[in-house]
């Protein structure tokens, strides 16, 4: 009895020791998460305050503590301007369009890629398509500039030779929705296409065999076997994209139009607005934080809604 007790004590001691050592393993990342992710969450209070520098002892924490509470004033100011409506319209509008186009094109490409019987060609296509995903937006902006540069761009030179005059691309709003859409599709289609392709290759081969024994044509196989099997993947990516519907890819909207100020009506999104306000001298910190909080909360709610809608349609496809 005494022996067994001793052993138990010893093993529980060892258990404690083991857990302490495992705790030291999570420690560095935990500190990082606290400092760079959880601490800024308290900064959300700035959205409800009139942020002023506390002159007696300036410092971020003191400034926040001693600033006056103003309730939802920052949000009111944010939504009072026409600029803010435009940037919300741009953020949500581009996202909706791109979620739809991205879904249709990537699924179509993934199915086509899967139908290509020559394995070498399929592999080469896959490698080429995926390449743009690894290129930074800074580099992409140079690619776009090679076409639209006001003095030597390829398209500009062509316009000059054809019509004697060229569009001043970086100061004309009209073509930018299309340019941004193309840039986004160029960079991201390959990535989502490959996600769908891995889902397709995971489909049980016997389903195809059964279909062809029943005399299904290629189109029928795609329609009745491939597409239904992609449902879960489509739902997952859809929910994730919808939860980011109030966020935008900063690099795309900042670098590709070269941060041009004269086409802001079609290129300004919530993220570029926050950066512009943050980097401007005397920018309103309360309002920029409010914009971030708005993005976060609405995005979270959107994700919950999307998830419950998916759950209602097809319980197996929802995220949680």
């Amino acid at each position: 009895m005494a022996y067994r007790l001793g052993r138990k004590k010893k093993s529980s001691k060892r258990l404690i020791k083991k857990n302490v050592i495992l705790l030291t393993m999570v420690l560095p990342t935990t500190i990082w998460l606290i400092l760079l992710r959880y601490l800024p969450m308290f900064g959300i209070t700035i959205a409800f305050k009139d942020y002023k520098i506390y002159t007696k002892a300036p410092g971020l924490i003191n400034n926040v503590i001693h600033s006056k509470w103003v309730g939802f004033d920052n949000f009111k100011f944010l939504f009072a301007t026409t600029d803010s409506l435009k940037m919300i319209r741009n953020t949500v509008g581009y996202n909706l369009l791109w979620i739809f186009l991205g879904l249709v094109i990537s699924v179509a490409f993934a199915i086509i890629l899967n139908e290509i019987t020559n394995k070498f060609v399929a592999k080469t296509y896959q490698t080429l398509m995926f390449f743009p995903y690894f290129i930074s937006w800074v580099v992409v902006s140079y690619f776009v500039m090679a076409l639209l540069d006001p003095t030597s761009g390829l398209i500009v030179k062509w316009q000059m030779s054809q019509y004697g005059e060229a569009t001043n691309w970086y100061h004309t709003s009209k073509p930018w929705p299309i340019i941004l859409t193309l840039a986004n599709l160029w960079k991201n289609t390959g990535y989502s296409c490959i996600l769908y392709l891995t889902a397709i290759t995971g489909i049980d081969k016997t389903q195809y065999e059964a279909a062809s024994i029943d005399g299904a044509t290629r189109w029928q196989r795609i329609k009745y076997v491939t597409l239904p099997n992609l449902r879960t993947m489509i739902a997952i990516l859809l929910i994730m994209n919808i939860s980011k519907i109030f966020n935008s890819d900063f690099g795309l909207f900042w670098n590709v139009p070269l941060a041009s100020g004269s086409i802001l009506d079609v290129t300004q999104t919530i993220d570029t607005y926050v950066y512009r306000a943050l980097s401007a001298t005397g920018g309103n910190l309360g309002m920029t934080t409010a914009a971030g909080v708005f993005q976060n909360v609405v995005g979270f709610v959107c994700m919950l809604i999307a998830n419950s809608v998916v759950k209602r349609i097809d319980a197996d496809s929802s995220l949680f």
Binding site: N19, L36, G43, F109, V138, V156, V274, F300
Partner: protein, 305 residues
Amino acid sequence: MKKRIGKSRLGKPSIISEISFYLILGMFCAACIIPFIFVVIISFSSESSIREIGYSFSPQEWSASAYEYVFQLGDQLWRSYFNSFFVTIVGTASSLLMTIMYSYALFRKDFKFRNFFTFFAFFTTLFGGGLAPTFMVCKQLLHLSNNYAALIVPALISPFNIIIMRTFFTTSIPEELIEAASIDGSGEYKTLFKIIIPIAKPGIATVGLLTALSYWSEWFLAMLYIKDSKYIPLQYLLMKMQNQADFLFKNASVIGVEASKMLRDLPSASLRMALVVFIVVPIAFAYPFFQRYIISGLTIGSVKG
């Protein structure tokens, strides 16, 4: 032979649909790679050709002068190249170490606080302070400004990578192995570094490559936190050159004396494109070899995340 039987069973694919499949994807793939080829051609065009007919797929005159200038340009360029490499190597190494240790603890079923720390990391993907408070905390409280830490620390941890890493651990490491190691009296750290890490190499390669790529492509952190040109990485240098075409002229003092003499007849257009080539080439050459790792990582991350 087997394949042919299978195919005839699946019904004859019509030639038209077959050809159109190859064409549609072929066109898109060409569009993916042509911009890069175009930039390479521009970087090899002579300045007079660019002045005359603009950027063109068939320049009037070829010239490697842009590259000669790149090599003679001196301080700022090499400094930025060094910064990019330094940040990528140090950042990836520290990020990997932290990610491996955190995910390993999350993978261990006998870790009491497993659920708590899993939630602790993943909650940050659902909710966050946003750019403005994060920027304030980094700059004012943590003094991440005008130093290498500002380029490395904010991108150290990604919950996405933790998911990938943990999945690799659960799929490749049998639990008995850890028990056996602990019975043999191997300490936790020794087990991790001597036994687990060698087994989980493919997973580590995946996460390491993703991290290295994101550090190499990083310009946003530089834009937020770096004012001193000493710490500017290559991507941000390129961005600055674009925003102010005469960046080199303005920074003649930084670039060096002998360089400022050449600035008068500097091939600025082709030079910038040569820099783009310099950034893309390491990725373009490394990527086909690592594609497999990266795809497996991205698939796990997106599905489990």
